[in-house]
């Protein structure tokens, strides 16, 4: 993974000094709350319901063991001993003290971490597929391009005060889209053209929130060397023409819609024609230099351990279940991708203690070249595990609570912090996730249901991506009481779709029953192996409505 050189280190150190200076001026009253607000947000610092919250960047989800250990130490020394993996591949601390934040940033900078642009109206952390570089069917490794975008967008002088936040995601597989690129401000799908050259299909104006939208394509093929100049053109058009009079209409999706995708594309092309050949145009050497940091680790030459695994599975049913659900195939023979699930019933999805962070660091060193990836489903991936070590790994993670074999099932809930932590929430989200996990605790039934995305957000900001859940749950406020609206049929994959609202909202205690009825309708109607989403698409929303509101 990427390693800082002297330039990155210098910029990171100067950033810490700058934020220290800003914090001191804020505490001394030289900066008003209004003036400090965007400065602290651009450093990931919110002032929340109970305490400040610090969002630490994990660029495109990659973490090294030493970074995990440092995070563990920081949560112990400055917080209550746990952290939270977010739905955007970042990490949050829930209880740091404002005056400690500069010191926390200094500790993080020592291990090449930061909190830059994790919030605020600027270009945020670029996200990608957690299986990048190890999956079979990718066009090319997207991570070097994410790093290139990270560097370009870091303290970009023109785009620090955009109309609204701006999120870029990159996907490299043609079959799957684990990065949900079509619901980002810019979604970049890596493709090859007829000549075999590498480039991107550019989606602009997708997003969740109040006006959920699937991002239309504004350019079918953007050659890789043109990546940054084109992004600069898109951002410039947005910076100049995006709405600033109404916060709810300020995302780029509203501008794209107002101008139509064709109209927007034309404006971008016109702007781009001026800067296409500017010094910002990437060079082959610059890309290769960054690619040099993402070379393959020193894999052993192995055969697939098919027989060994077969006998281990035969002997141990739980291992068998875990293997079928939480382990994916790897591009190298003899290796596998393991997802450690942070979704044990009773723990808020994505929460990890300091000890667990250290355990993960240890596991990464022992089994996966000292690196992990954080997923937007709030899990952690060990991307390079030898197949002949899977059983041993499984035995050690089972007691740690990372082996809940529910990956991609109904109980692998994506859930935002909601009313328990978040000042913006309309309703709590964690207890809803938990009550559903408890209701569906029968593993066999769960596996029989297959893959179902259940996503929960505590308010319209949609941090829990509820619009694109096959089943989406949204906390709403009804005359001061917490209620939940359910939507069905959403998807964040290549067939990206915004879910449809089922009908009037429900009280919290009714939620497990409501979900159970939805599942019943699916089970009664599905054909053979048909997944939930396909059944829904075939039969429509009516049968679900009838059962739930009967």
């Amino acid at each position: 993974m990427y390693v800082y050189d002297e330039h990155d280190r210098q910029i990171a150190a100067e950033r810490v000094a700058q934020f220290r200076d800003q914090t001191e001026r804020a505490l001394a009253g030289e900066l008003s709350e209004d003036e400090f607000l965007p400065l602290r947000l651009q450093n990931g610092l919110y002032v929340q319901r109970l305490a400040p919250m610090l969002r630490i960047a994990v660029p495109y989800g990659m973490l090294r063991s030493e970074q995990l250990r440092r995070l563990a130490r920081v949560t112990r020394d400055y917080d209550k001993g746990y952290a939270h993996f977010t739905t955007r591949q970042n990490v949050q601390l829930n209880w740091p003290a404002l005056e400690d934040v500069p010191d926390i940033l200094a500790e993080l900078a020592e291990v090449e971490m930061h909190a830059n642009q994790t919030s605020g109206n600027c270009i945020r952390n670029t996200t990608t597929d957690q299986f990048s570089g190890v999956q079979v069917d990718e066009v090319a490794d997207p991570r070097p391009y994410c790093e290139i975008i990270r560097q370009w967008s870091t303290f970009h002088p023109e785009f620090a005060f955009l109309p609204r936040k701006f999120k870029v995601a990159v996907n490299a597989s043609e079959k799957t889209d684990r990065a949900a690129i079509q619901v980002h401000d810019i979604g970049l799908q890596m493709v090859r053209n007829d000549q075999g050259e590498l480039g991107f299909r550019v989606h602009v104006g997708g997003g969740l929130g109040r006006t959920p939208m699937v991002g239309p394509v504004i350019r079918e093929f953007l050659p890789e060397l043109d990546l940054l100049t084109y992004l600069e053109a898109v951002l410039r058009v947005y910076n100049r023409y995006g709405r600033r009079d109404n916060k709810f209409k300020a995302r780029i999706k509203i501008l794209v819609k107002a101008l139509t995708p064709e109209g927007f594309a034309e404006k971008v092309e016109a702007e781009w024609s001026h800067i296409k050949d500017s010094p910002t145009r990437l060079t082959r050497e610059a890309i290769e230099r960054i690619q040099g940091y993402f070379t393959e680790p020193a894999y052993d030459a192995l055969e697939n351990a098919t027989e060994l695994l077969a006998s281990q599975r035969f002997d141990n049913r739980q291992f068998d279940q875990w293997l079928s659900h939480n382990v994916d195939s790897h591009k190298k023979p003899g290796y596998a991708i393991v997802t450690l699930t942070m979704k044990k019933t009773g723990t808020p999805p994505g929460d990890v203690s300091d000890t667990q962070l250290e355990q993960i660091a240890e596991l990464a060193e022992q089994y996966s070249f000292g690196e992990v990836r954080v997923t937007h489903q709030q899990n952690v991936v060990l991307a390079d595990v030898r197949q002949d070590q899977l059983f041993e790994l499984w035995q050690s993670i089972e007691p740690m609570g990372f082996a809940t074999a529910n990956l991609n099932t109904l109980t692998d809930v994506i859930c935002c912090p909601g009313g328990d932590y978040c000042a913006l929430a309309n309703a709590k989200s964690i207890p809803v996730a938990e009550s559903i996990q408890r209701r569906f605790d029968d593993k066999d039934f769960l596996y029989d249901l297959g893959d179902i995305d259940l996503n929960i957000s505590g308010c319209m900001n949609a941090c829990g991506h509820h619009h694109v859940g096959n089943i989406g749950v949204l906390g709403v406020d009804k005359k001061g009481a917490e209620f939940y609206q359910v939507s069905l049929g959403g998807s964040s994959h290549h067939d990206a779709t915004i879910g449809k609202i089922l009908g009037p909202s429900f009280a919290q205690e009714d939620m497990p029953d409501v979900i159970a009825k939805i599942i019943d309708v699916y089970v009664d109607n599905r054909k053979e192996e048909e997944p939930f989403l396909e059944t829904y698409r075939r039969i429509g929303i009516e049968p679900f409505k009838e059962r739930v509101y009967a």
Binding site: A160, L162, P279
Partner: protein, 167 residues
């Protein structure tokens, strides 16, 4: 006399006055001192202002600098207004004036100009800053130089870090 910060963080005294846009039907209220007038009004009365080195223009954040394409260097001073510091349109306007229209004279940030935005402004081509009056001008030099380098090419440098690394 108002103070203005230079690119190096020095404080200079200055007598330019910003003339606000007149109400409908009213005419420009020209002062004795050198004056910055709305760019479109300068364009409309261009013959009238020809050759004067005490008349400059200002753009508001929603204005289009494109209207002065080809004419920018006739002006001794152009200002861009930041109605609120969080309105980032002025940064794009500045880069367009410098990089696209080749403006070479003084470019000034006016309006809600605070310390923590100065370095972004400098990188986008502003070379003088009418810091908001309640802010401490003695801290400007530090704020202009929080960072010794940036990742990107902008008005201040043609060479993004990825090109510097290569050489």
């Amino acid at each position: 006399m108002p103070e203005v910060i230079t690119k190096d963080g020095a404080i200079k005294q200055d007598s330019w006055v910003v003339v606000s846009r007149p109400e409908d039907g009213e005419s420009l209220n020209m002062p004795e001192q050198p004056a910055l007038i709305p760019a479109d009004l300068w364009l409309a009365g261009k013959e009238h202002f020809e050759g004067r080195d005490d008349i400059g223009v200002w753009f508001d954040s929603h204005d289009e600098p494109e209207i002065l394409e080809g004419l920018v260097n006739e002006l001794p001073l152009i200002a861009v207004n930041f109605p609120k510091f969080a309105d980032g349109r002025g940064y794009s306007i500045a880069r367009l004036l410098r990089e696209r229209f080749g403006y070479e004279n003084e470019l000034r940030a006016i309006g809600d100009v605070l310390l923590d935005q100065l370095q972004f402004m400098k990188r986008c081509g502003f070379d003088s800053y009418a810091l908001r009056e309640d802010k401490d001008a003695s801290k400007a030099a530090r704020a202009l130089n929080f960072f010794s380098q940036g990742y990107q090419a902008a008005t201040d440098t043609d060479v993004p870090l990825f090109r510097r690394r290569a050489s």
